[in-house]
């Protein structure tokens, strides 16, 4: 057991810190979502130039072959430096690795570099209005027409679709397959065409991180099938199971920064002498640390046993609970100013409600924990 970074990890961190110090991310532009996204895109370009955009990718594809721990360090440091997530985060974390696993040589050559440089943004077309978390219930249809596929259907919760050039799209190519998870195919779909309509989905924060995607006769050439026709379930699993633990570290550091900020504001108001406030802040501090420690335990487990396990469900659940408790406490402590429209704390309070929904609802995560970690039986 060793909770310090080894020499290689320390060297990695120091190199990154030095680079970040020399290349500060700057302050985010205020207000305008498009400007904010452009800032993130520019930031990824700079990361890519420095060789930092995809540290977990193999060197042959422009990465650094980083270990999981190095990846975690990368995201921790990124967050600590006040940097945003790279603009093409779905491309870097999901599309890239899935293409590396299932793609043809041509596909790899075509797609990986533009992902890295944020030249081409990716979005993920899995969720559907009536399917929700249930991939086997995907209804979007793809029908063969010569050497193309014609796609019709609707996707929801597609973040970054408004900026995306490409979409990881799962559609049903064989509606008669005996089992529902059969007959699915994974497409690399060009978003820039008629037949693809992106409609922003406004959230309770007033922002539109997500979109609805309406597909009405969108076309995908055969060459953009990933992993073979009818193999979509397996390919999609690669995407879903792909290691996102680094992201968890980013979010954790962000939450810790938020907590520190709250501690600072509480202190400035003399609230730390109030035992009830101290009790609640102490509990949040505990939860933040538990998250960090548990996430590192998870990394070690993955490094020891190979595949990412379902522990991520546990940390995601803890994180969303904690972030909701933290932002609510801020509203309690800071009063009306934390409820003022446009105030950062007000935004965080509202945004946090999405934490237990996005990327797997807490209900679904608990089911995953119960069935996959604890081995409890399924009903029916």
């Amino acid at each position: 057991m060793d909770l310090t970074f080894d020499a290689r990890e320390t060297a990695f961190r120091d190199e990154l810190r030095a680079w970040l110090a020399a290349n500060p991310p700057g302050t985010p532009p205020h207000g305008d979502e498009d400007a904010h996204y452009a800032w993130r895109r520019d930031w990824q370009r700079r990361l890519a130039e420095g060789g930092w955009a995809a540290v977990h990718w193999p060197a042959e594809h422009g990465g650094r072959g980083a270990t999981l721990t190095q990846s975690a360090i990368f995201y921790e440091e990124l967050a600590a430096a006040g940097a945003p997530l790279p603009a093409n985060v779905l491309g870097l974390l999901l599309a890239g690795p899935t293409i590396m696993t299932w793609g043809t040589q041509e596909q790899k050559e075509r797609h990986l570099v533009p992902i890295l440089t944020a030249e081409e943004i990716w979005c993920q077309g899995f969720s559907e209005p009536d399917a929700g978390s249930d991939l086997a219930a995907v209804k979007t249809r793809a029908v063969k027409d010569g050497d193309e596929w014609v796609i019709t259907g609707q996707k929801v919760w597609t973040s970054m679709a408004q900026y995306a050039k490409w979409c990881m799209l799962v559609a049903r190519t064989d509606p008669d397959a005996p089992k529902k998870h059969q007959g699915l195919t994974y497409f690399l779909m060009d978003m820039e065409q008629d037949g693809v309509e992106v409609v922003p989905l406004k959230q309770i924060t007033g922002e539109s991180e997500f979109n609805e995607l309406f597909l009405d006769g969108a076309r995908v050439p055969d060459a953009n099938v990933l992993g073979g026709v009818g193999n979509g379930w397996k390919v999609a699993l690669t995407t879903l199971m792909n290691e996102r633990s680094g992201l968890a570290f980013f979010l954790q550091v962000r939450m810790r920064q938020l907590l520190d900020q709250l501690v600072g504001e509480a202190s400035a108001r003399g609230l730390l002498d109030d035992p009830v406030v101290a009790d609640k802040l102490g509990e949040l501090h505990l939860r933040c640390e538990v998250l960090r420690l548990t996430a590192y335990r998870g990394l070690t487990a993955i490094e020891t046993y190979g595949q990412p396990g379902p522990e991520g469900s546990l940390t995601k659940w803890m994180w969303s609970d904690t972030n909701q408790a933290l932002t609510q406490l801020a509203a309690d402590l800071l009063g009306p100013e934390a409820l003022t429209d446009g105030a950062p704390w007000a935004f965080e309070l509202l945004r946090a409600r999405g934490n237990s929904i996005e990327g797997g609802t807490t209900e679904v995560l608990k089911n995953i924990v119960a069935e996959r970690v604890l081995g409890l039986p399924r009903l029916k």
């Binding site: 959230q203 409820l339 007000a346 409600r353 237990s356 929904i357 609802t361």
Partner: protein, 337 residues
Amino acid sequence: MHFDLTDDQKEIKRVARELLAARSSWARVREAAEGGARYDDALWRELCELGWPGIAVGEEHGGQGLGAVELAVLLEELGYACAASPFLSTAAAAAAIEACGSGAQRARWLPALASGETTAGIGTRALCADGVGAAVLVLLERPSGEAMLVSGAECAPLATIDPTRRYATVSGGDAEPLGDGGGAGARAAADRVRAAVAAEVVGVAQRALEMTLAYVKERRQFGVPVGAFQAVQNRCAQMLLDTESARSTALFAAWAADAAPERLPEAAALAAAAAADGGRAVTASAIQAHGGIGFTWEADVHWLYKRAQLDAALLGGARQHRARLAALAAGRVAASA
């Protein structure tokens, strides 16, 4: 012992529910909210024509001569509709002035408030509901627990996360204790205002619960209505428990205000504590139970969540009321020892 609305009170509730369903649909609320917390003027005129702002004001001042329970019934329904109107502050302030005000205060403010000709604000200087354009404010000054009557104040609009209502920060103005020289009367006035806010929260929670039930019965996942999943069922059961807890205490407080004033301090603290925490919990649960849809602007449950957050702030948070309850319990135990 009859812990339910009377037939007359049920009739008021029914009328209010029907009227607001017709006149203050989500489309109307949304229109007002998206217009930058504009109020629904047509609705307000209609409420005034019905005499509801003066529901708890005596007939000699142009009110309906009914009481705090009838006011609570209306407030629950206005909360249920999440209506964009200055009703809460105006009716609650009028009721507090009626019950606790001095003769001069009643004569000065009640006629115009009861008719809805002028409106009132309630809250604190940092957060005053309906303050902009109000002729008079009932402010709850924390340390003494006394309500202050403030006129001629400067109310600067404060855009909050709840655009279904106008809020303001308050500076200046002429302040005097509500009632003859403050004390018990001014504290009772503050308790009445809190009881009124708690009543609104009951309606907010009730609406969130009903919207959630309708959604989870309809929405299917993995081939069954999501409402059949035990996790969703347990969530809804908890929402019911929180809603009913808020309702029991809010009704108790409204009843005590008129019928057992000596129990009002405790009843109002119970209602405020239950409403401040319960309203937020129920409406947050409603968002969660709606899944991704619940997090969208279009789904309307968020108006309820935002209102519940602001109402909790108007109540000053649950904690101070729990502290008051502990002190009351300690006093009682000490007295009986």
